[in-house]
């Protein structure tokens, strides 16, 4: 019997997959949830021959992976963290690619009257004053950092029973909000792709403050000689190309455009 088991094992033990023209890109959960990656990756492979392996993690973990040299580049959306990443020399530069937007989601009954709000800060103030349940990512992710900066702008310190920091990814946080019938801030893509909407709906969107800039940062080959800097540069060129612009701007989910391409070809510094 043990010999038999061994035979099966020898059969199965095909060694680790060798990455040839492959590179690893750490992206945030919200980007992956948008489904855009599934459109872009086959096109990238067709145009450049590069197979991009996505590591879908939170912003914090994505930046850690980049700093440790475990990925070749990162695509994230948290401006302050990105600037400090560059300042520490983990990446050679930062390149803006596109933006999408955040939306406020809540119960259809809308106890905090978000649909009547005229700015994002007004919406948050209204949630706080009515003590309506609000679910926060609380995981130091790009989305969470954005949310904190908005509370700051609204001059509200979110605390109390109504404010639930769940310390989880976007999907898990949306699941929690759906279960609690609570308000939550989400990127539009994750929301549209989310399959467990329950009694929730988009109640507020459109304030330019809610725009969410994605930036691409190749890991510094000076720190990690093994990173595939050349492939990372090729990918950057592709992501800022006209072809990428068309694909990104044309991408729709449930009839809505999700991303707006805003890379400038000359921005390289």
């Amino acid at each position: 019997m043990f010999r038999c088991l061994l035979t099966i094992l020898i059969f199965m033990s095909v060694g680790p997959v060798a990455f040839a023209e492959d590179m690893k890109l750490a992206v945030t959960t919200s980007f992956h949830n948008s489904g855009l990656a599934e459109v872009l990756l086959p096109e990238i492979e067709a145009d450049t021959g590069i197979t991009v392996h996505l590591l879908v993690v939170g912003t914090g973990q994505a930046l850690r992976l980049g700093a440790a040299g475990d990925v070749d580049a990162v695509l994230v959306h948290a401006r302050a963290a990105e600037d400090s990443f560059i300042a520490k020399g983990h990446a050679t530069h930062r390149r803006e690619i596109m933006y999408n937007d955040f939306v406020f989601i809540g119960p259809v009954s809308d106890p905090a009257k978000l649909s009547a709000a005229s700015t994002a800060t007004e919406a948050l103030t209204s949630i706080a004053t009515t003590q309506s349940s609000f679910v926060s990512r609380g995981d130091d992710s790009g989305t969470h950092k954005k949310e904190m900066s908005l509370w700051d702008a609204a001059d509200v310190t979110p605390e109390g029973n109504w404010y639930k920091s769940v310390g989880a990814g976007m999907g898990a946080a949306l699941n929690t909000a759906s279960g609690l019938n609570a308000y939550i801030m989400s990127d539009r893509a994750s929301w549209l792709n989310f399959g467990n909407k329950g009694g929730l709906a988009v109640l507020y969107a459109g304030d330019p403050m809610l725009f969410n800039q994605y930036a691409y940062m190749p890991v510094n080959p000076a720190n990690h000689p093994h990173v595939k800097a050349e492939l990372a540069a090729q990918l950057e060129t592709w992501l800022t190309s006209d072809r990428a612009r068309i694909l990104i701007n044309r991408y729709q989910l449930s009839g809505e455009q999700l991303f707006t391409f805003n890379a400038t070809v000359a921005q390289q510094d």
Binding site: L9, M12, V17, D70
Partner: protein, 234 residues
């Protein structure tokens, strides 16, 4: 509740149509866990037998530590393996992070204490039975270990199946060291976590049902193999 039925229906169709993505991640799940199981058994079974036959100074401490390690959260194992395999870690140059090999390493660490502990417990009882005879026969330590491993093989099979169960259902560690990369390191459990995160409960449940079915199949298969091997003699 409707999600459960939807999940069952979806699981059924995924299996019937032999969905290529499903086949791929299922095979990878099996590959990772069976490799980890084989390596873990090679370490844990002789070690469990050694702990049963040999008296040494810190034996009780070693056993206590192993029993404690059984409860080690996989996420912690994953982080430790990540730190070692990371490009900035001591074994970074080997480039093992985000490969099935890294996942196998993490699972070996998770299941070795479990298998060792169960193997030791059952072999300890067998050793109590055999002790006088084997000592009287003037056996070497190696012969004693081999005898216990062979005569206790049915109990050891249970121990290894427990290890398989823990390995195949594990998600915390392999998520960190494998990275859940599509077509490279995605397995059933990490796919379930991903779909749950997307709120696709039905698909997540479908994958869960397939995982359960897979575990049951492997258990039955191994029991059947062991029965044909002993040929009704017992």
């Amino acid at each position: 509740m409707s999600e459960l039925t939807q999940g069952l229906i979806q699981a059924f169709w995924l299996v019937v149509t032999l969905d290529p993505d499903l086949v791929e991640i299922t095979l990878r799940s099996l590959q990772v866990t069976l490799c980890a199981l084989a390596i873990a058994c090679l370490i844990a079974l002789p070690f469990g037998a050694y702990l049963a036959v040999q008296r040494f100074r810190f034996r009780r401490t070693v056993i206590a530590v192993i029993n404690a390690l059984m409860g080690l959260p996989p996420v912690v194992v994953g982080l430790i393996v990540y730190v070692f395999l990371s490009r900035s870690g001591p074994f970074g140059v080997m480039g093992l992070l985000f490969t099935p090999t890294a996942m196998i390493i993490a699972q070996v660490i998770i299941i070795v204490p479990l298998i060792t502990s169960i193997a030791h417990q059952s072999l300890r009882d067998l050793w109590a039975e055999y002790h006088d005879l084997l000592i009287s026969m003037n056996t070497t330590r190696r012969q004693r270990i081999v005898t216990l491993l062979w005569d206790g093989r049915r109990a050891l099979l249970t121990a290894s199946l427990a290890g398989f169960g823990r390995g195949i259902g594990e998600v915390g560690a392999i998520m960190i060291v494998g990275g859940n990369i599509d077509h490279a390191t995605r397995v059933l459990t990490t796919a379930i976590a991903l779909e749950t995160g997307k709120g696709n409960f039905a698909l997540a449940l479908a994958l869960g049902f397939i995982l359960i079915a897979l575990a049951i199949t492997v258990n039955l298969l191994i029991h059947w193999l062991s029965r044909t091997e002993t040929g009704g003699r017992w």
